[in-house]
Symmetry: C2
DNA sequence: CGTAAAATTGAGCTGTCTCAATCAATGTGG
DNA sequence: CCACATTGATTGAGACAGCTCAATTTTACG
């Protein structure tokens, strides 16, 4: 019963992403407000948090102040699937917007995985998706130019938001600051600003008033390819 | 019976790494020689290959000739744990040295996972290790300088080779070309050469005659930190 | 409404790249 | 076992993508 329930939640939150649109119910839900650190790097977490609403980042912070965003966390996503199998968090999780998360019991999750092949497959395919994005980021950072990387990030986010039904025509709500884009692409905010200015000038992409508008998707995808 | 056998092999190859030193037995073993492409990007692989002997790379190749090495594959390692759960390979696998691999049946692997919690844990902890290295690489590429990245790569390989008992004092057999280091760190071979020359000049690290010698581990680790 | 955070712009700098040449090592066929 | 061919290492000169520093304007928040 519990296993099944868990499984249902997982399907909703992680995979079908349908609950994001519905009313939040679970008692384990925790709200967070914008621009807060929700979990600290190297913290031990006894459960597996899944973002329920809002945007957040998973960031690796170096001692000298440099930081690299490893992933943007959107509704329905685990901070990292690694947490299903280990307890120590290797990143800092910072909220971007207001939102909420739910914490799933690790043992129950694992029980659900062994009891239900479907749950097993879903969690593992989420892990594969996470791993695929990481590899994509490695290629971007290692072998692509600044504008290619920014284009790639915008495309990735667009595609993910589209799956969440958050897009509307060529436009989508977009709470990222230029510093988020910089920390995700390994650039400086100053240079990100120049790249985005160039994109705007070319009539390809426009970010303003917390909205991202893609004016020439073909061109953007070609640049990111 | 089969499940157990598989599990045993896995322990040997992937986790305890003990079989690497012993005689190869399995009939599914395939030999490869140096500087060959073993698997192609986007190829469908019906089984899960594990490197048994020798060095190889998993490389993502872009259409314009740029390439990024995602990981170096050492004895006992899967190309990527993703292959346990999906069939399409997203990278090219190229051998560096002569060597061999064994191909495990995917379905049998998965059966072994569900039958044996220990196997389950081992495969997933291998996946976590893979994911951890990927995240480390992202941070390196995004936020560290050329010499930090090269130092980091040498340290990573040193530590992995040490676990395989391949190191001898401060020295270890090291078949990588400077172009491998370049493709792994997102640099050019010319610049890698300059960085390595600097390392040598400082008496920190020396690579010659297919051997890596670490002359000042403390300094190297501090640089890579 | 004041203050802090974010975006924008400009000037100059540097880490890393490109191009190109040379030299060393490794492998190959005869 | 040699001569050649190929691959890898090294070095130098010059270029440029992206950085730093710094000032200014705009936007957002308490």
């Amino acid at each position: 019963m519990l296993g099944l329930g868990l499984c249902g939640l997982l399907i909703d939150f992680k995979l079908d992403r349908s609950l994001a649109a519905g009313p939040p119910i679970s008692q384990s839900q925790t709200e967070f407000s914008a621009r807060r650190t929700i979990f600290h790097q190297n913290q031990t977490v006894d459960n597996v948090p899944i973002i329920c609403d809002g945007w957040a980042t998973a960031t690796f912070k170096l001692s000298n102040g440099r930081r690299q965003i490893l992933s943007f966390l959107l509704p329905g996503e685990m901070i990292t699937c690694r947490l299903v199998f280990e307890t120590q968090l290797h990143v800092t999780v910072d909220s971007i917007t207001d939102g909420s998360y739910r914490a799933f019991d690790r043992a129950q999750l694992r029980t659900a995985m062994s009891n239900s092949p479907a749950t097993f497959d879903r969690i593992l395919s989420a892990y594969n998706a996470e791993s695929s994005r990481a590899d994509q980021l490695i290629v971007d950072l290692g072998r692509r130019s600044a504008s290619e990387r920014v284009a790639g990030l915008l495309i990735e986010l667009w595609d993910r938001l589209e799956k969440l039904n958050k897009t509307d025509g060529n436009s989508v709500e977009f709470p990222l600051r230029q510093s988020h884009i910089a920390d995700a692409t390994g650039l400086t905010t100053v240079y990100v600003n120049k790249v985005l200015g160039e994109f705007r000038h070319e009539g390809m992409v426009d970010i303003s008033d917390r909205f991202l508008q893609i004016r020439n998707m073909t061109k953007l995808r070609r640049l990111a390819a």
